[in-house]
């Protein structure tokens, strides 16, 4: 299934966690696989662990969907590594997902399920 086609509809499902964190990790610039893994762990406060198989399966899907693309890495870098960066569609999809989450948080606050600034 091509994600960017899925997300065009209003009733789109939330992004899978691996997809979300890989896109999120790439917002700060192009990265290779291990850097994406570390960054997504950092962004999730260690609550989300990406393994190599999940990482590269998701990367392949994102490349197919044109949400990310390969980028030329540094010239003195390890030739085994490939670098990836967000495309416009990828950035748009991430933005869309963040807005969806933001709307959910706002609704939760309105329904008093969540109070701003309170410790859980």
């Amino acid at each position: 299934m091509i994600y960017h086609q899925m997300i065009m509809s209003r009733s789109d499902p939330p992004l899978p966690p691996a997809t979300f964190f890989i896109l999120f990790a790439l917002t700060s610039g192009e990265k290779h696989g291990y850097a994406i893994m570390r960054e997504s762990r950092k962004l999730s406060d260690d609550s989300f662990q990406l393994g190599p198989a999940t990482l590269y399966t998701t990367i392949q899907r994102l490349l197919d969907s044109k949400w990310i693309e390969e980028a030329p890495g540094p010239e003195d870098g390890d030739p085994r590594r490939r670098y990836y960066r967000l495309t416009k569609q990828g950035r748009w999809a991430l933005d869309h997902e963040v807005r969806r989450m933001e709307a959910l948080v706002k609704k939760s606050i309105a329904l008093r399920l969540l109070s701003v600034g309170a410790k859980s």
Partner: protein
Amino acid sequence: MTGALTWSLRMYERLLSLYPEYLRRDYGAEMVLVFSEDLESARREAGLPGVLRVWFRELGEFVRFAIPVQTSSPALVVPALTFAVFAVMISIEMGVALRHLPTAATLLQELPATVTIPLFSTPFIAFAVVRTSRSRTELLDLSQLTEWERAECSKSAF
């Protein structure tokens, strides 16, 4: 500890051969690199518990990615099925034998005869299963065809 890391890497490379082909072909080298860096970093930061955590996560990935591929492969299904059939037949035969033979000594005397039927029938069952799975695989392996051949196939009744 370096020995453990080397062992872990060798083990991971072996496990990788059971992963889906597209992953091994397109990302195999990078996956090994990522795994080794992650393992080294986990060891530096948390020692043995860190290494075990990486392996635990890897086990989860193995179950999610490699097991489905392997269980759909005739190379594993056929021996497993044959073994299961053999085990069931042996159990039935042993059950019947135990019901009719009260002493263990008599059972041991009769054991070769009890095992003979399943032992001889198993290769025939295995042959039948292999033939069936091979013909199924040949029919389903359309990915090897060119675009033109696929178009021709879709025109025919097949």
